[in-house]
């Protein structure tokens, strides 16, 4: 039995346009690889595939590589998807 937790996903800039929301709470395994976590989020919002290589993926306000390193998550943790904005 994998224990799960509730994390808050924040969508910035273009990712908020794609998903149509600015944040949501989702249930994910407490132990999960960063890439798997992204894939879970992408499954919910397939449009995010367009920008997956151009975003900062941040876990608890820290950059996380979309790779195989294991994350240990707690309920309430903040996941942020941050595409660059270029306007001025």
């Amino acid at each position: 039995m994998v224990s799960r937790c509730q994390v808050e996903v924040l969508y910035f800039a273009e990712s908020a346009e794609i998903t149509g929301i600015r944040s949501e709470t989702i249930s994910v395994p407490q132990e999960i690889k960063a890439l798997q976590l992204w894939n879970e989020i992408e499954t919910r919002h397939p449009g995010l595939a367009d920008i997956r290589n151009q975003v900062i993926f941040a876990v608890r306000q820290e950059y996380a590589e979309l790779g195989h390193q294991l994350l240990l998550l707690q309920s309430g943790d903040e996941i942020a998807i941050i595409p660059p904005i270029s306007g001025g």
Partner: protein
């Protein structure tokens, strides 16, 4: 009746005088600019070291001089520092304003663009009277009035791969206040190649981002964003909108980082990203990755050893102006002039406006049917019903067997082409001809109806 006539005569005379007055004001503004232009000297020599502050300088900068973190030494460093401001828009204006006020020795101002009325809500160095003039001259004129001791060097040109290394290399710190993706990569690579710290800010809608790149062994822009985003996922301020205060907040934070670097205090946002969410009222700080050993620009074996073609690298042009899409053939499109003729002839058709509701609230053609592009993309049931009704109604005016034309319109003629493509893919609309209006409502405002709002 005589009184009525006099009113009309006087009204006409007032209007004429007002026209003369505004023409004089425009000429005065142009003359002021020409005067400043003639005195500007393009060659830039290094700023001489400065040993002491004058009595006037001590008074002028006294409130910041008494800060122990800055003090006389910090102020002297500011006075001999030079900052290149890339872009004199919503970020560059407040940034340059505070840098000039704080006594930075020299400000290089780069922008190819001219002041437009739609800039004034956020580009606070430009005044109404200077609409149509180069932004860099307008900004330099305002900055000189603010602090005549600061040397402003206007470059009324785009930053290009041909000019960037030379220009960036003449300045100590670079502030990226640009409005497009290719320029952001160009500025980054030029800073890496010349070893200059880059203070980068951006803003869109209610959001802002700020980072210091290539400082003290920290990451560069390419370390964080090795690949440019697909052009179709990039929104400009012209398309997406932006609140002026948001660019103002970001420009000021950017100026703060520049000042701290120039005064020797060191920046706060090297290796981290400040996110400003103006709607929620949140500031967040995200720790970024370290410098990428395999970064194309600043890595151990860089492949970017000279500046490249950033427009083709990014698949977009180095401007925030909308580019015109060409999705349809000429036969699938109609000009505003031809559409006006068709409208006047009373020929039955449906005019479909596909702009977002917020833009339709600004202005619309009264006979248009409004269905946002997003609804067409999602085949929104309610919208399909509306369209079906409009088509049935329109068909009552046509002869049996003659197809009813649908004309699609948007702001500039890009989304309308996308909408035509969608409508053409719907097999149940087989008997209809669908075209779009070239140049959209802005072409209508420019060529057909001068009273129609532009935005």
């Amino acid at each position: 009746m005589a009184a009525r006539e006099e009113v009309l005569t006087l009204q006409a005379e007032v209007a004429q005088r007002e026209e003369e007055l505004s023409s004089l004001k425009r000429r005065l503004a142009a003359a002021l600019l020409a005067e400043q232009e003639s005195e500007r000297l393009v060659p830039v020599s290094p700023l001489p070291p400065k040993a002491a502050l004058s009595r006037d300088e001590i008074l002028r900068y006294s409130r910041q001089l008494v800060l122990p973190e800055l003090g006389v030494q910090g102020q002297l460093r500011l006075a001999t520092a030079s900052v290149l401001v890339v872009g004199c828009g919503g970020l560059g204006c407040p940034l340059a304003q505070y840098l000039a006020a704080a006594g930075v020795g020299r400000l290089g101002l780069v922008d190819y663009d001219v002041v437009e009325v739609s800039n004034l809500a956020r580009q606070v160095l430009h005044g109404e009277a200077l609409a149509g003039q180069a932004k860099v001259f307008s900004a330099a004129a305002t900055l000189r009035r603010l602090n005549s001791a600061v040397e402003c060097v206007p470059y009324a040109q785009a930053l290009t791969p041909a000019t960037a290394l030379d220009l960036v290399g003449r300045y100590d710190v670079v502030a990226d206040c640009s409005d497009n993706v290719p320029t952001r990569y160009l500025v980054n690579d030029a800073c890496v190649l010349t070893g200059r710290p880059l203070v980068s800010a951006s803003a869109l809608r209610f959001e802002g981002q700020l980072t210091v790149y290539h400082y003290g062994g920290g990451p560069c822009y390419r370390c964080v964003f090795p690949q440019p985003p697909p052009a179709e996922t990039v929104t400009s301020c012209a398309d997406g909108g932006v609140l002026g205060v948001v660019t103002g907040v970001l420009g000021c934070l950017q100026a703060l980082e520049v000042l701290k670097i120039a005064a020797g205090l060191g920046p706060s946002y090297s290796g981290s990203l400040l996110l400003f969410d103006a709607l929620g009222g949140h500031f967040r700080c995200i720790r970024l990755r370290r410098r990428r050993p395999d970064c194309a620009a600043c890595g151990e074996r860089p492949t970017v050893t000279d500046l490249q073609d950033y427009e083709s690298f990014c698949g977009s042009s180095a401007t925030d102006k909308c580019r015109s899409l060409q999705l349809l053939s000429p036969e699938e499109r109609i000009s505003v002039v031809d559409y006006k003729r068709l409208l006047d002839s009373g020929s039955p058709h449906v005019l479909l406006d596909v702009r977002p509701p917020v833009e339709v609230d600004l202005c619309r053609l009264p006979h248009s049917l409004h269905i946002p592009l997003k609804h067409l993309e999602r085949r929104n049931a309610e919208s399909l019903k509306l369209l079906g009704e409009a088509i049935r109604e329109g068909k009552q005016g046509t002869q049996e067997g003659v197809s009813l034309p649908i004309y699609v319109i948007c702001k500039l003629g890009n989304d309308s082409q996308k909408a035509v493509k969608i409508l053409q893919s719907w097999t149940d609309l087989d008997s209809l001809t669908v075209r779009d209006v070239v140049g959209g409502l802005m072409a209508w405002a420019a060529k057909i109806d001068g009273t129609f709002p532009q935005y």
